[in-house]
Amino acid sequence: MNVELITFPFIVGLLAAAVRLAVPILFAALGETFTERAGILNLGLEGIMLMGALAGFVGAYATGNLWLGVLLALLCGGAMGLLMGFMSVTAKVNQVVAGLGITILGSGLSTLLFRLFFGLRSTPPTITMFPAQPIPGLSRIPVLGEMVFSHNVLVYLALILVPVAWIVLYRTRFGLALRAVGERPDAVDTRGLSVDRLRYISLIIGGALAGLGGAVLPLANLGIFWTQITAGRGFIAVAVVVFARWDPVRALWGALLFGGAMALQLSLQTLKLPIPSELLLMLPYIITIIVLVGVSRRAEFPAAYAVPYSRVEK
């Protein structure tokens, strides 16, 4: 083991990587926070993120414009959210199994479309990613500058979205209605607001953000697309939402924890520890289980969590 490699810059680099790797999960978790606050459990997140990753990649590849990739990912994710809305709000089916179906559909469809668009190639198609854009002045701050202010634009977007999501949820009429729908849908209904519409909107927001989270992988982190590129990040994002107790700011800390686990795993590999890489790769998944177990007992789920709403059924 090369202990001399563990230097101060190494640790700062690790933390910066943690922030960068947290972003896909953060986008998805912020979206799912809206969805779950409205009383819907969307376990299709993994499939939606995969579709978003594909849409982002194809959009950027076809047009040469990364922002069109972002737009396409948002639209595609939103459409997948709409589909989950049809399943859970209109058809009122079991949300766990519906989410599973969405995940299987998304993972199959993203693979199929990628193959149909690009065929089998010896070298995978690539795109030029969002470049790192250090913020003038702020990026000069020691430690914090490299950690937070020297990233690509999607990282800043995700970080700005945290307070925005908080304000929307806690300081707007819409946020109040959304939270009420998750707790007392019948009360919202008697006030003349449409429970179904609010839930659909929450799913479209959640889907669009999950799509964006998936698109971060090809657009800013990897530059390519491959089958199952999200590798469980959708499920991890759902765990982050429970960890965060449905709060956007705590979701940031949760996402950073997993970004940290992924960054740690990557940098431990560069240290050439006598631990096989396959075992290090398990780290984020093991941490997810441990964290979930730690928080689930204390978590107060929204009262109408995963329960379809209908006026007749009580």
């Binding site: 376990l43 993994e46 499939g47 589909l83 049809f86 399943m87 209109t90 058809a91 009122k92 089916v93 079991n94 949300q95 766990v96 199994v97 519906a98 989410g99 599973l100 179906g101 969405i102 299987i104 559909l105 998304g106 993972s107 199959g108 469809l109 693979t111 199929l112 479309l113 193959r115 149909l116 668009f117 089958t227 590798a231 469980g232 499920f235 991890i236 759902v238 765990a239 429970v242 096989p276 396959e278 075992l279 790769l281 398990m282 998944y285 093991i286 997810t288 289980i289 979930l292 177990v293 689930s296 007992r297 978590a299 995963a306 329960v307 379809p308």
Partner: protein, 355 residues
């Protein structure tokens, strides 16, 4: 499969309900195939050619037909495994990991105790595989029962962990020393291989074991344990009121679920591959869930749907080879089948007013 659940203890056959479910299931599959064909059409492929090579690949000859049964074998076992949990409202999606653990443990037993006579060793490998699958599933079961940890997330995480564990073992401690660094374990002894049902094909006794387990599942739902499973699934509150321990039932059902998936892994090892290889369980978890749901979580229904998806897998591979259409088409069809089967009551309007 409704959220509220109903206690349905089937005693006699309800022909009308059977007809209705068959009709809806068939319609779901046909619609899913049509969606797949449409996707191919839009992307400039020839769907007729694709589905033709799919059909020929699955049923074109006796050899192809036995291959369909070979693929149906693990799917049926996994579907039965999944149906136990799902009927208890435990959303265990960890079959893939449990299959992997079953494979690892059974091969480990076979290689470690290779000096034992085959008649003793083979049953031991079976037990080892079932046990390892049960323990892997029990982790998620206990965490759900006693820590309220969402089993969908824990089991999917356990799947990833199992995949990396398998990769680690076949690249490291269990790698065949004489295998030119291929990521695979040594072969098991010839005497441990399950006998073939049809000479010259890959169809082995493990297929009969899967059918046997479907029969066992039919009986299971008539035992007190089966009824307990269904009552806990229908209503946790009612179960508590009549004095059933909900956490203990969840743990027990999780173990049975894992054991059956572990047996599927054992069957893949001793009936098909005869050694550990990477990715031998890839995609089986989600396929097993689709088979279970399409079969309405009923053992006989699942036999039919396992056969159907066995054919789709074999045909899908042939389609990729012969027509150049990606196998992922089968995954898309899977997703469509699940969503259509779930929303069947709404989409097909068969049960109008019955809600």
């Amino acid at each position: 499969m409704t959220t509220r659940g109903q206690v349905v203890l089937r005693r006699s056959i309800d022909w009308q309900a059977l007809g209705r479910s068959t009709y809806q299931a068939a319609l779901s599959v046909v619609l899913s195939l049509l969606i797949g064909a449409l996707l191919l059409l839009v992307s400039g492929q020839n769907p007729v050619l694709a589905f033709r090579s799919l059909w020929d690949g699955a049923f074109g000859s006796v050899d192809r037909f036995t291959e369909t049964l070979v693929q149906a074998t693990p799917l049926l076992l996994i579907a039965i495994s999944v149906s136990l949990s799902f009927r208890c409202q435990i959303w265990n999606i960890g079959a893939e990991g449990q299959v992997i653990l079953g494979g690892i443990a059974s091969i480990w037993v076979a290689l470690t105790f290779s000096e034992l006579p085959p008649a003793i060793l083979l049953p031991l490998t079976f037990i080892g595989g079932a046990l390892a699958g049960a323990v892997w599933s029990l982790i998620a079961g206990l965490l759900k029962a006693y820590a309220q940890a969402n089993e969908v997330i824990t089991t999917s995480m356990l799947n990833y962990i199992a995949v990396y564990l398998l990769a680690f073992l076949v690249h490291g401690p269990m790698m065949d020393p004489a295998g030119f660094n291929f990521p695979q374990s040594p072969l098991i002894a010839r005497a441990l291989e399950l006998p073939r049902l049809v000479a010259g094909t890959r169809l082995s006794v493990s297929f009969l074991i899967a059918l046997l387990m479907a029969g066992a599942a039919l009986l299971y739902w008539r035992t007190t344990l089966g009824q307990r499973t269904e009552i806990v699934g229908a209503s946790r509150r009612v179960a508590r009121q009549i004095g059933l321990s909900v956490p203990a039932t969840i743990a027990l059902v999780s173990m049975l679920t894992g054991a059956l998936a572990g047996i599927a892994g054992w069957g893949e090892m001793f009936g098909l591959h005869f050694r550990l290889i990477e990715e031998f369980a890839r995609g089986m978890g989600s396929l097993g869930i689709v088979v279970a749901l399409l079969g309405e979580l009923h053992p006989l229904g699942m036999v039919v749907s396992a056969f159907l998806f066995g054919a789709l897998v074999v045909g899908g591979n042939a389609m990729e080879r012969n027509a150049g259409v990606p196998f992922a088409l089968v995954d898309v069809i899977q997703g469509c089948v699940i969503l259509l089967i779930l929303a069947r009551g709404y989409i097909f309007k068969f049960r109008r007013g019955a809600r």
